[in-house]
Amino acid sequence: MSPELPGSRSGGALDIVGTSVRRSDVVEKVTGSARYAADLRLPGMLFARMKRSTVAHAFIRRIDTRRALALPGVKAVLTHEDVPRVLHYGSPMPRAASCTRDQYILDRKVRYWGEGVAAVAAVSEEVAEEALALIEVEYDELPVMTTTEAAEAAGAALIHGDRAEALQGNLVVAPVRFERGDIERGFAEAELVVEGEYEGGRPTPAYMEPNACLCHWDEHGRLTVHISTQTAFMVRGAMAEVLGLPLNRVRVLCEHFGGGFGAKQDLFQSEFLCALLARRARRPVMMEWTRKETFLAGRSRHPVKIRLRQGFRRDGTITARQASLVYNSGAYGSHGPGVTAVGTSSLTSLYRCDNVLLEGRCVYTNSPIAGAYRGYGVVQAYYALDIQLDEAARQLGMDPAALKLKNAVREGDLAPSGHAIVGHGLEDCILRGRQEVGWTGTKPPPTRPPEGPLRFGWGMGCEMHGSSAYPGIKEQGNALVKVHEDASATLYTGTAGLGTGAHTALAQIVAEELGLAFEAVNVVHGDTDVVPWDIGAFASHTTYMGGMAAKLAAAEARRQLLERAASRLQVLPAGLEIRGGIVRVAGTDRTISARDAMWPGHGLPSPHIVAHGTYTPTKSYSFAAHFVEVQVDTETGQVEVLQVVPVHEVGRVVHPIAAQGQVEGGVQQGIGHTLTENHEIDPVSGRSLNASFVDYKMPLAMDMPPIRTLLLETAPDPGGPWGAKGIGEDPIIAIGPAIANAIFDAVGVRFRHYPITPEQVLRALRMQREQVRDA
């Protein structure tokens, strides 16, 4: 089962893994010298801007660029008439079942408000913007459908009428179905049936760095792309395919990266246009988006409607679970197929149930594109599932935490991927969290009584999430480790540095495995011409998959290093150990430094060691339970989260501060999604109503409660380095239902949607009062 090499450092005390070493990428971030894509400058560089549609669904009848081209300072203009017409995957997972091939660089049809219809390169951004205003576009408008109901109505216009695949109506992909046991028998055995409709809005990742790329071509027709991306090799593949270039003529670089949270896996029209403008103008071109464009043309979480029905026995056993989920993909498929499959199948697990029937659909609409975003379809599904468990507990007269504990998946149960679950991570999280917050009865003892209009409540929610996208995608991580002749080492990794501290974690893993000091290892990344291929940073798999590839490479480098030490010490390598850069004959005081062992001039074939590690993971699952206290102001409808205790089981903590940082940031985004964040689209015009940080409300420093993160290592997975599993996506999943359940505890009103806004809270409280009065 374990892919670890014989003789590798597994088990026993670890020196570096598990400590919060100084991160390798932060000095440059605090001094301002870290270069992000939009910080780069090249001689003669032009500035590009995109013209975006002012209608949500239309054919372009006429597009005239003559006045724009005549403007002094304009160097190139492109419309759909000027660019290759190649159908491509907006999300560059190569031919994966998780993505859809339905995009052109520019098309004669527009499918959402704000879609790119032309691009300009000019000597300054100001000139480029002026040129955009001079491009004349006339549209033949089509009916606008922003909701899945409208797009699925009989006779609805087809948003992708020209697609090759024979799919019904506006479906992005054939519906998915997961079935287990006998659903009818399950409901027949139930003593209580709970049923509800749940709805999720359109939160957007709102990464701080707007999308940016810089393209230039050399004399040999080689294209270099500096870009803010999570998936440099996927960008390389998509650019090469669409532009008709061999892979060795496209070089993609990304040194620093200002947040993506899943969304920056995609291609956004602008990269292709930037490259084509640079080719036409014969000058480097920088394409930097405005904040508004990140809302209109970025990627959001899929809005969703879920019908969920479960049967329970009096003792809390779940006898049946039936659900239908409809994900709103927006104008293009992006990750829709993957999100639909992962989200729908997530309901097979988390809480045990033998009789399951789940159906998921993904539907095109004339709204902004939904894509990959931290939690990947599971956020929506577990919001419904966990709230419904809370509803059931109240109806059964049980403690919600006890009901969840009773049904929590355990060792050997099947995970959504079909894998047997390792360990009892979910139970451990619930038990440890209950203990931490003093949860007895149905919640912790009240710390404060109702006060004026303020009501207080507790809630909890659970989640599990896989590291790696298997079985949707078969992934691979690769690493090269060089040990130099002075016994310092370099890790070459294709894994992107998203700001999570992943490269530091990888360096810790290499140093630990090699037996060198942490400071002796540095990391090279972010250049497809230099580092080995990697599928990219997503699916909570960087430490799990990239870390294991790095560990395997380091183990091989260590084997070669010990061979050299053995020949110097005139012993067999098997009897040697290495720690902190010192090689020792086990059980003796005979030592040689790694540096002396490496030093050339002893008849060695090569002064340095190069080792390769490759790893194709299957899947591991991390678990969490979040415990939340809220305050509801019954006069204003305002909900405030007072404290959060997130408990995460992650197998092995590599860098405690970085792991806590993932949890704290996920909780922040989750609080936003649940209470305030929703990118609103006018259902008539398809127009965005709040594409700015003033109108799209995210939690600020003063909105955030204290977060007391607990990290457990009780269910290490043999597929990750020293048992480590993912932590990137998990923290955003359980916080939502925990808040909704806490609001119910505080005021007795059940919300089954997000965001839960003050207006809705007030309206619900008013209805509650009227019902009490009428009764």
């Binding site: 919060s20 100084r22 991160r23 990428d25 932060v26 000095v27 440059e28 971030k29 605090v30 001094t31 301002g32 010298s33 870290a34 992000y36 939009a38 910080d39 801007r49 995109m50 975006r52 300072g73 300054s124 100001e126 000139v127 913007e129 002026e130 955009l132 205003a133 990742p205 709102a206 990464y207 701080m208 760095e209 707007p210 990266f257 200002g258 947040g259 949270f261 405005t290 904040r291 209109l296 998203l498 700001g499 999570t500 501290g501 806590q660 940082g661 949890v663 704290e664 940031g665 922040q668 985004q669 700015s692 940080f693 003033v694 995210m698 600020l700 420093a701 003063m702 955030m704 977060i707």
Partner: protein
């Protein structure tokens, strides 16, 4: 679709601006509509100051102007005439020794993707200049104009409190 109104760019319409940036006297030419943010990033090569929204909503471009924190995207470059500008590039000492705020951001894990970090640091510097021993609530209020999407702010608040303690223990460390 653009945040700015299109305008014709006069070929010769630049003004000479004289100011100090991070302690050094600087002269540069700027078009009258050019923001201080664009001038820093495009004319002066100071790309440490980030453009997160360009309309004053996110705080990523916070710089100090005569000691006051301002969004560089909301100030015209020509308004810098005669003013004292501080950016993140000037925070460390002349030999590269880190400012206590930088040290604590590093130690506490307050920077993840790092894109909000320069603005956070400059806002924190202004905050500690006016409130040398802020409470947690005062730090949170002081940073409410700076959006971070990675950290949940927990470790940023922790770092600013730690830097305040370190600065009050050895006040000489904040040289500017």
């Amino acid at each position: 679709m653009s945040a700015r109104t299109p305008r014709t760019v006069p070929a010769t319409g630049t003004r000479q601006v004289h100011c100090t940036i991070n302690g050094a006297a600087v002269a540069f030419a700027a078009a009258p509509f050019r923001t201080l943010l664009d001038a820093l990033r495009l004319e002066l090569g100071l790309t440490g100051t980030k453009k997160g929204c360009d309309v004053g909503d996110c705080g990523a471009c916070t710089v100090l102007v005569d000691g006051e924190p301002l969004n560089a995207c909301l100030m015209l470059a020509v308004e810098a005439e005669g003013r004292r500008i501080e950016t993140v590039e000037g925070l460390a000492g002349p030999a590269g020794e880190l400012h206590p705020l930088q040290r604590e951001f590093l130690r506490c894990g307050a920077a993840q993707c790092g894109f909000c970090t320069p603005g956070m640091l400059m806002m924190s510097k202004a905050l500690l200049a006016s409130q040398p021993a802020p409470s947690e609530a005062e730090i949170r209020f002081g940073l409410a104009g700076n959006i971070c999407r990675c950290t949940g702010y927990t470790k940023i608040v922790e770092a600013v409190a730690a830097a305040a303690a370190s600065l009050s223990a050895s006040p000489g460390e904040d040289r500017q």
